[in-house]
Symmetry: C2
Subunit: 411 residues, 2 copies
């Protein structure tokens, strides 16, 4: 099946909203054996939507649209699909009743413009939208399918999961693509590529490398008539990558780096507390993005002022001698928070997030320190050439790297 | 000028990378008086890129592309533009030298495949890329312009700012669009719409309402031959909105809610510290996303464990009597951190981020407390029906709302 995605809406065209729906759908099409060739965005303009629909109709047999299903005159997806199919929309009384009771349950009268949301055409059936007022459309004619979903991401995602994806799964008879992502850290993309190269010629699979914030990912993909056959090709390659990269692999597929850190600590029954300055709490927040973080993460202190660092147990002499932005202060912060919170490990971050330099140290300078049992301590320093938000994010990734290294070394 | 944007790359098509470049460019075109009609994404496939280029060539006079300028066989933007123009690429020795010295400065020999990055065609000139190896192209023929920029966002943005935008500014002679965004909080979109309606018929301007995480935004837009004339139409409307919405307006245009909070505190010479549980540091991190946060924000404590709350000064009796997830505990956290850090105000957040309920309270339950001078205290409770990440984000927005209300009321 040849698919294309059309996102409809002037706000998306003009970049006021980032279109995440298209990426969400696109990621899932390969597993269904559906090839995606084009994505496009078009504003709320009848002529240009129709033109885009017609072109898609001529070159694809599955057209997936998001947006333009609202009640206002600006919402024209239904009108354009009806036009494409050469059919007249009519009001479906069952859908109308559902709409009216939706408004009644909220104590509002239904604006008459909303009646459009109860429309169908003869070739379409409605897709239920429990999270909003706009049902989707599944329209089909001459071997071509047009699926229309709302633009609000939670509404679209539920409709996709409950109705569209299962239906596409039933129909796609051809090959399925199965992928496995192997996530490494600490090795550059060029070297990862070289190390994995002997496997590139394995028949029936494809391997790609992708540099990401949390390291270099290797993606193994296999297309086969069944999911089982595809896995049969992937598994030996995955095992070989496990052997080649060993400890440099921290996770697979949907694993997150914060989840990996949680596992490292929980498996060893160790606890952690952090003291942050330039990252302003982003490390603690990231570590607690994974559920079960409370198994090892007791808490943190955000010492934005130097005074707060001293009040939280950092010796003023260390700061006086080495400066706030120094490896020594980062280590002192790690020791202080470890003691304050009574955890096995403590980690400290101090640096310059910008926009202005501090203590004559340039924006992007970051020092990290870690303290552990038996007087263990270690530090790491980095210099990021980027803006405030990116310095914070990259400092957090580096902190997690330091935690990983520490736990793997300490066993 | 009629523009269209084409993002090139299989990773973007398949949703592995979210295309932020198109939104970045799209947002700036209206100010240049350039109309954007289409955005599309196409994978690394010569036939489909050419097809997309040809269609764009026939309907637009400015085509902006991102991606496909790398050194590998998968990078085909140059080849496709050369084909579109019917011209042969040649190696420019000056560009080649720059490439070779880039690699030399890093101690690597230049892979011969990189030579593509020194190509030009007779109708194109190179656009400098100080952040990478791939220069852009500005190609022009028969009154049509094709601008090719790299896909890596920081490289693209610098090239856009330094070369593409200034050149487009010089050329666009037609009308410019100027917009002013007025940001409100605490009033629903329907009510905002009703209150602003009397202004909708003002000649020469357009007004739209947009529901956002930080409240409802009103955008005033005016198209005019000059920027001055456009402002001349906008200003009286803006003044009228200021009058209608008064205190409900917290900012304009690029203002952020965390910037607004900073101003409220800094203007009153007040300081703040926070104690967070379910948000795990995200409030502190958000407050410090704005530069100058140190003017009022001293620090925070992330008390992820109940034990950490008690060690940080929350009375165990309060927790025993009311539970960890309670307004009473949130207020006690606010008082405790205010005292610990010695600030004018303290704020506490406790809640259930999920995925599991806690103390029989459902996921999404959040209590916030604030404590201030002269025994002032206040609380707010919310229940968010969403996932872990969204609960954290929405709790942070609510906390900032509570801070705003507190400072405006206390004067």
């Amino acid at each position: 099946m040849k698919a294309e995605i059309i996102a409809i809406g002037t706000e998306i065209l003009l970049g006021e909203i980032i279109d995440t729906n298209s990426a969400y759908i696109a990621q899932q099409l390969p597993e269904l054996g559906i090839d995606l060739y084009y994505k496009s965005v078009v504003g709320d303009n009848m002529g240009r939507i129709k033109e885009t629909f017609e072109r898609a109709w001529n070159r694809s047999n599955l057209i997936i649209t998001t947006g333009g299903l609202g009640p206002t005159d600006d919402d024209m997806t239904r009108e354009c699909v009806a036009d494409l199919f050469g059919e007249e929309p009519y009001v479906v009384s069952e859908l109308e009743q559902r709409l009216r009771s939706f408004f009644a349950s909220r104590g509002y009268p239904m604006p008459e413009s909303n009646i459009k949301q109860a429309w169908l055409i003869p070739s379409a059936r409605a897709l239920d939208n429990p999270r909003g007022t706009a049902p989707g459309w599944w329209a089909e004619k001459d071997g071509r399918i047009v699926v229309c979903m709302p633009g609000v991401p939670p509404e679209m995602e539920l409709m996709w999961k409950d109705h569209v994806r299962p239906e596409l799964e039933r129909r796609s008879g051809s090959e399925v693509l199965v992928t496995r992502t192997v996530k490494t850290i600490g090795i550059g993309e060029g070297t990862v590529d070289e190390m994995a190269r002997p496997l590139y010629s394995t028949p029936g699979i494809g391997i790609g490398t992708y540099a990401r914030a949390d390291g270099v990912h290797l993606r193994i993909g296999a297309k086969a008539p069944t999911r089982e056959e595809a896995w049969h090709r992937i598994i030996p390659v995955e095992q070989e990558l496990d052997r080649i990269f060993g400890n440099a692999i921290w996770g697979k597929d949907e694993d997150t780096f914060e989840g990996h850190i949680r596992t490292l600590f929980a498996d060893r029954n160790r606890t952690l507390a952090v003291m942050e300055s330039c990252t302003g709490g982003l490390l603690a927040s990231t570590l607690t993005d994974v559920s079960g973080a409370a198994d090892y993460f007791k808490g943190g202190i955000v010492t934005y002022w130097t005074e707060a660092k001293i009040e939280s147990g950092v010796a003023p002499e260390v700061i006086r001698e080495h400066g706030v932005i120094s490896a020594e202060t980062a280590i002192a912060m790690a020791h202080a928070v470890r003691e304050r919170m009574g955890t096995d490990y403590g980690l400290g971050i101090t640096g310059v997030a910008g926009p202005d330099p501090q203590e004559d140290k340039p924006v992007g300078t970051v020092h990290l320190g870690v303290a552990g049992p038996d007087g263990f301590q270690s530090s790491m320093s980095s210099s990021f050439n980027s803006g405030r938000a990116a310095v914070k994010r990259r400092a957090v990734t580096t902190a997690m790297l330091l935690l990983r290294r520490t736990l793997l070394d300490q066993r």
